[in-house]
Symmetry: C2
Subunit: 275 residues, 2 copies
Amino acid sequence: MELWFTELQTKAHGITTKVKQTLHSEQTKYQKLDVIETEEFGTMLVLDGMVMTTDKDEFVYHEMMSHVPLFTHPRPKKVLVVGGGDGGTIREVLKHPSVEKAVLVEIDGQVIEYSKKFLPNIAGELDNPRVEVLVDDGFMHIHQHRNEYDVILIDSTEPVGPATKLFERGFYQGIFEALKDEGLFVAQTDNPWFHGDLIRKVFADVKEIFPITRLYTCNVPTYPSGLWTFTIGSKQHDPLKASLPEQLAFETRYYTPEVHKAAFALPKFVKDLTE
Amino acid sequence: MELWFTELQTKAHGITTKVKQTLHSEQTKYQKLDVIETEEFGTMLVLDGMVMTTDKDEFVYHEMMSHVPLFTHPRPKKVLVVGGGDGGTIREVLKHPSVEKAVLVEIDGQVIEYSKKFLPNIAGELDNPRVEVLVDDGFMHIHQHRNEYDVILIDSTEPVGPATKLFERGFYQGIFEALKDEGLFVAQTDNPWFHGDLIRKVFADVKEIFPITRLYTCNVPTYPSGLWTFTIGSKQHDPLKASLPEQLAFETRYYTPEVHKAAFALPKFVKDLTE
């Protein structure tokens, strides 16, 4: 018998991937959580039927979410990650020696627990002494902090289920206030092939609040369409004018200073969503 | 009853897409040819079970295969397309007014016939008077022509079936000789997630023959991994130093002069394949 996991990424299109075994499966307080071992992508974390991360391709999303904003800020000391319970973004954030404290606010403690158990290469830095892990509501956390963070990374699920309110204008206003004067934030904002309307709305909302708003992309094979976007809102520092190191002081598999700049050169139909 | 078409892009991973109806299906002399109407991507051409092109995302591949080399050559007059029976590459080539003649050499006449019938937006320029369509073996055509073409575009299927010999070193040597002194060629070279070895081999082979060798990428949602590569071999003109127009004189949906340059900024793990 062969087992295949199929994620319908739209009502009429999806990916299907061969499964060796199910490692864990439960309904948490917030969502359906599955960890499966796949033949092509290794261990895969699935929330509400959507691929969150896999051993094979996780580095793309985590590197691009972290290093673009952290190299844009001249000296990021205190960083907040909202969501991101798998720990991959935290792992990349810690590669920046200026970071003194990284706070992770994940609403679903089970995501953290089972990532630590089954995705140790991704979650391995969650116990680092520079990290504070809070099982809490990121929306509330943002609104309870003022002038606190240098960089905020919104590493959320899609705008269905627990993450819905993380795509609302009021949330971006809260982020603005939680950031220091030189602060910036980045949010994952889905793909332009199936969710162009979402990108257009988020970009317009962020642009009303932040002086500098930018969209950039990367390729994640297990995410819908393979083309993923991130939206940046920044108070002072423009990611396009960041003074990037000629050579990175740490290993990456996707991010390079050249890729940093190129990621903002948007395909015409994507650029149109920002205008 | 629901019909879904599944393409296994590797032995253990693929895409699945909802089908409204099958428009045509036959075993040609060379391959299995299917034209289906899908809900998400419109009309889809499938050869030997692999998605070749779709109404919704065809523009990416066809624009990126054509405009990058045609803007690199200072004045392309005579262009050869090998494969590409759907006509999409020809359509983009003709947007360059310097092109006096575009020759299409497609081995399978049925691909041309059914593209004209079911994909008129893609194949519509195949009857343009600047186009010469030959139903013939591209490998032979290349070896029968010397110092003839300004730009050669290898718009082939994957290196299985009829296209196998289009990925061999001897073919690239033939291309070198079929090109004029200022000539360059581009070939589609699959994706780096599942076929890194192919990219590495082709790049090394082309580099032995051409003074300038470059790899670039684009995002095609219906192609494996969503990240597609093209390899360029050029005698004199470097696509990275091309003098690009500030504003294009024709409409595009993916290609822009900024995208042209950014497409060569390779993710680290892809860059490693070229070194």
